[in-house]
């Protein structure tokens, strides 16, 4: 696998994965909506000027253009902030991409509270639910640079439309080149017998691991699962750990209705019902603030997660 230490931020990783795919596959193109300097797709433009298209601040048209390109044999990656990548072009993604079975890869950057100082207008908690309504879309929210790079490449090979939910800034390496990251196969980061914490994305996986540490000090053994692929759901791992631990908490940087937690609850209700709880946003909009402030405001902290587990076990 490629040496990913060349990348300084998640945005470099996702764009770098697209560039590497483009080197190998002449059908790969990149479309942006006036946010190329935010995601760093300028690097793609530099490498492949003829295969980069800045569509301006017009996400609906960008999604439609991408669908047309896909129908003619190209494989477009399109980017905007997650709020716009999901909401501003939703009918276009639903009809022109989803309904027509076109393969378009949608990168939604800075989802949920990661939007921070762009505030409530830019803070999508509903994007996972929206993409779950479009039949056929793969949905990923990787928790580190290695899985982000690997899964982006695997999405190309899957030949289905996809949604890539990722922060732009910062970088962490949870996995090494030796770890197997497989689209649709959840990664068990920590085994445990009392409760299973299923988490999606960088913030939630970090929070889950920190909570598991705190719980371990009290003798509570929490398993932690990195659900890097939200769709297709790894039902086998989820079911197996539900049976193994009898309690499940799902953590997502998103709103409950239609989200990851609801999806897992539905599956377990039909297969192996267990006591569950959820760390997510309720019936609320986003707001402005630092990441630390927002984690506290929405209850996305290891302390609150550990508390949820304690209550669930009693």
């Amino acid at each position: 696998m490629k040496d990913l230490s060349v990348y300084a931020n998640y945005r470099d990783v996702v764009v770098g994965a697209a560039i590497d795919l483009a080197k190998e596959h002449p059908d790969v193109v990149f479309l942006d909506a006036d946010l190329s300097s935010c995601i760093g797709s300028t690097a793609f433009q530099k490498e492949f000027p003829d295969r980069f298209f800045n569509c301006g601040i017009a996400e609906a048209n960008m999604a439609g253009v991408a669908a047309g390109m896909a129908s003619a044999g190209l494989t477009p990656f399109i980017h905007s902030f997650a709020c716009f990548a999901s909401r501003r072009d939703y009918d276009q993604l639903f009809i022109s991409v989803g309904y027509t079975h076109q393969v378009v890869h949608v990168i939604g950057s800075d989802p949920g509270i990661v939007a921070q100082y762009n505030g409530g207008t830019h803070m999508p908690f509903e994007d996972i639910a929206l993409f779950r309504q479009i039949p056929g879309f793969n949905i990923i929210e990787p928790s580190d640079a290695t899985s982000l790079y690997s899964l982006t490449q695997q999405l190309y090979d899957a030949k289905k439309a996809s949604y890539i939910r990722t922060p732009r800034k910062g970088i962490s390496f949870r996995y090494t080149a030796d770890d197997t990251i497989e689209l649709g196969k959840a990664k068990v980061l920590r085994d445990g017998s009392d409760v299973t914490i299923v988490a999606t994305g960088v913030i939630m996986v970090d929070t889950a691991l920190a909570a598991a540490d705190a719980l371990a000090a009290e003798g509570i053994k929490a398993a932690v699962i990195d659900l890097h692929t939200i769709r297709p759901l790894d039902t086998q791992t989820i079911e197996s750990y539900a049976q193994h631990t009898g309690h499940v908490v799902v953590c997502e940087n998103g709103r409950y209705p239609g989200g990851t937690g609801e999806m897992i609850a539905r599956h377990l209700a039909m297969t192996y019902p267990v006591k569950m709880d959820f760390m997510c946003v309720g019936d609320e909009f986003g707001q402005v603030g630092s990441l630390a402030y927002l984690k506290s405001a929405y209850g996305f902290t290891p302390e609150i997660l550990a508390d949820k587990v304690r209550k669930l076990l009693h």
């Binding site: 609906a60 048209n61 669908a67 003619a72 190209l74 276009q92 027509t100």
Partner: protein, 281 residues
């Protein structure tokens, strides 16, 4: 200017396409007759004269493509595609039946010869732009993408997003038409959201634009020929048309967007159309 024999052939095919469109919609009992009838000449001209296509190889990569962005006018396109051999003419009688290849709104996954799905208005124009841009990138320099947009459809903001983008990118293998039949579902565009100065609007957006009589084959042929000579700009041909033209019971009727056509009306309207054509009116 078309030669006399080509013009005669096109007029004959247009009459046939109109009859087949009426029969297709009548087979279901009702449908979007108005906007189907107003684009017959454009479709017949493109498929019989202009487009580089292979009906026995609908997915031929280097083909010209057509996106019917006003996707509800599917029956008109089906009538032409069936006659061109994309599927049996008998299938025209399956419109909107369960399991049909012919839904009233065009669907690329169901119908051979349909190059892109449309129905949610405004979306097809963007798709056409994407296809045209892809043709350029893939080096199919002689390939064109045609798009047909409605005047009512042009109230959708996405039409103008696509227009500004096409103009900015100078996608000159995109040849679009706007069917200005002056009517939409609720009535006359003039009474709802008027679509004035469309030619000038498109010129402002960087298009090479024309305004013609959309029922005049010579005007359509001349506009397309002129468009192909202009490099560096996308093209918009404004078609001034009559909604329901050729389905006489719908002509001049306010609510002719979708109409019921029973067996009796089908027969009488086709007879009246043939009679009018023979009289050269």
């Amino acid at each position: 200017m078309l030669d006399a024999s080509t013009l005669a052939m096109l007029k004959k095919e247009a009459l046939d396409a109109r009859i087949k469109t009426i029969e297709c919609i009548s087979s279901f009992g009702s449908g979007h007759i108005g906007g189907s009838m107003s684009i017959i000449e454009t479709l017949v001209y493109l498929y019989y004269v202009e487009m580089k296509i292979r009906s026995d190889e609908p997915d031929w990569k280097e083909r010209d493509r057509l996106v019917l962005s006003k996707g509800h006018s599917g029956p008109a396109l089906y009538a032409v595609l069936a006659k061109k051999g994309y599927f049996p003419v008998s299938e025209l009688m399956t419109l909107n039946q369960g399991g049909t290849k012919l839904p009233s709104h065009v669907d690329m996954l169901k119908t051979p010869g349909i190059d892109f799905t449309a129905g949610s208005l405004g979306q097809g124009f963007s798709a056409a732009l994407g296809i045209a841009a892809a043709q350029r990138l893939q080096g199919y320099s002689g390939s064109y993408t045609y798009a047909i947009v409605g005047d009512g459809e042009s109230q959708e903001g996405q039409i103008w997003e696509a227009a500004e983008c096409a103009g900015a990118w100078g996608v000159d293998n995109l040849i679009a038409f706007t069917d200005v039949n002056g009517q939409q579902l609720d009535g006359y565009t003039e009474d709802i959201i008027p679509m004035h100065h469309l030619k000038e609007r498109y010129e402002t957006f960087g298009f090479d634009a024309y305004a013609i009589n959309g029922h005049d084959f010579n005007a359509i042929a001349d506009a397309v020929a002129s468009a192909k000579k202009v490099k560096g700009k996308p093209h918009m041909i404004i078609l001034n048309t009559i909604k329901s033209y050729g389905y006489i019971p719908g002509e001049g009727v306010k609510s002719n967007h979708s109409m019921s056509i029973n067996e009796e009306t089908k027969k009488s309207s086709i007879e009246a159309l043939i009679k009018r054509e023979e009289a050269g009116e």
